[in-house]
Symmetry: C2
Subunit: 222 residues, 2 copies
Amino acid sequence: MSGALMITLSDLEVRVVVFTLQNNQLQVLLHPTGSTDQWMLPGCGLLESDNLESAAADCIEGLTGLKEVFLEQLYTYGDPGRNPQGRVVSVVYFALLAAGSLSLERIGQARAAWQPVCDLPALAWDHSEILAYALRRLRYKLEYSAVGFELLPEVFTLSELQHTYEQILGEQLDKRNFRRRILQAGIIEPMTERRSGDGRPAQLYRYRADAVAEVKARRLFP
Amino acid sequence: MSGALMITLSDLEVRVVVFTLQNNQLQVLLHPTGSTDQWMLPGCGLLESDNLESAAADCIEGLTGLKEVFLEQLYTYGDPGRNPQGRVVSVVYFALLAAGSLSLERIGQARAAWQPVCDLPALAWDHSEILAYALRRLRYKLEYSAVGFELLPEVFTLSELQHTYEQILGEQLDKRNFRRRILQAGIIEPMTERRSGDGRPAQLYRYRADAVAEVKARRLFP
DNA sequence: CCAAAAGTGTTCTATGTACACCCATGC
DNA sequence: GCATGGGTGTACATAGAACACTTTTGG
């Protein structure tokens, strides 16, 4: 530390950006602000005994009832003036919920609601900026890690997986290349069951817990 | 926000992990703790008017006299118990200084010192963990962005650039492939001068300010 | 038998990797 | 003239991209 340690009291909070897939659309969990028809990212304060990540996890559990979610620190926002009510430092976490794992009543009790990412309501303060960054991070992570599985139920078909990728990346993917590469990667395994539907029944797969889910980035230089 | 907003007062500080190259070695700026022979990452508190990033920039300017440095938020550490003197939340930034741009006297005045990353002294609290993460981030960023130039002076030779990469990545690179790819990428341009030295004089290059310095990550799936 | 979604291979192109010798200068 | 670091090109292997038809089920 250079010179004296200066300690400043700040309002410190944890906020969460929670994504899930519903109706084949990427959705984010938002909370009404109350006063206007604006919405905000859910969050909470920090108890003495909490670490930052478990505060975020508790917040998500309170809203959804889910304990095991993909959770990762996103960024810390602390500009003075980002909140007109005074200086607030927000440590923001980023979470993914598996489709179909939600207890919707609890969300209703908290008055929080899922909103489609492609058609968002107005957000308070700098929360639009935070959400845009979370979305960039989600897309980016999808490129080099197997984070897409976090949005799917435990058991899924290859078409469902591909639609998830297309939904998040916002582009169409080639079915044959997608299947070949994901099977080559060895990160999913077929189950004995198939799922009947509209056409030919689809093979069900599940994510392999022992999979190595990260891929080396392409280097700019050798 | 779910239910009432809980506000907790915490000690909030900004810390910086500052890297530079000296004697062809990656170095990090550390500060003695005073009591034991342990060292720590430099840092400062947060003034009312500061945003987090400018607090980090001011801290680095105070130690080195440099205003324009590569600076990026690394992570926020806030576990209770990470500092035995009480709950401290540290927003940690990550900085790169160009080799040869340092005013060494100021560092001496603040009793901070450069320490080689390959042979570090003992660090206080969780600062080893923070430094290890910063190093991972540096290596990772090097893979997909042109962050390596931030550690070099404005003008450099291709061999110097290659040595920088080798130093950070910890592996040898092929000279011909390195040169071909970095020239193809179009992110550096030759200058009219050459630099005389021990053998044949080397062409000098500089980084092109208009360069696109990021490369698309390799996807896990198509 | 028809609609609807599942499943399947090959060719071509681009990228990455491995590798060894000559060149220009200072002493 | 020799020691020192600078500079150059080619052949091979791997990975990615483009592309269309057959299969299995339910109604």
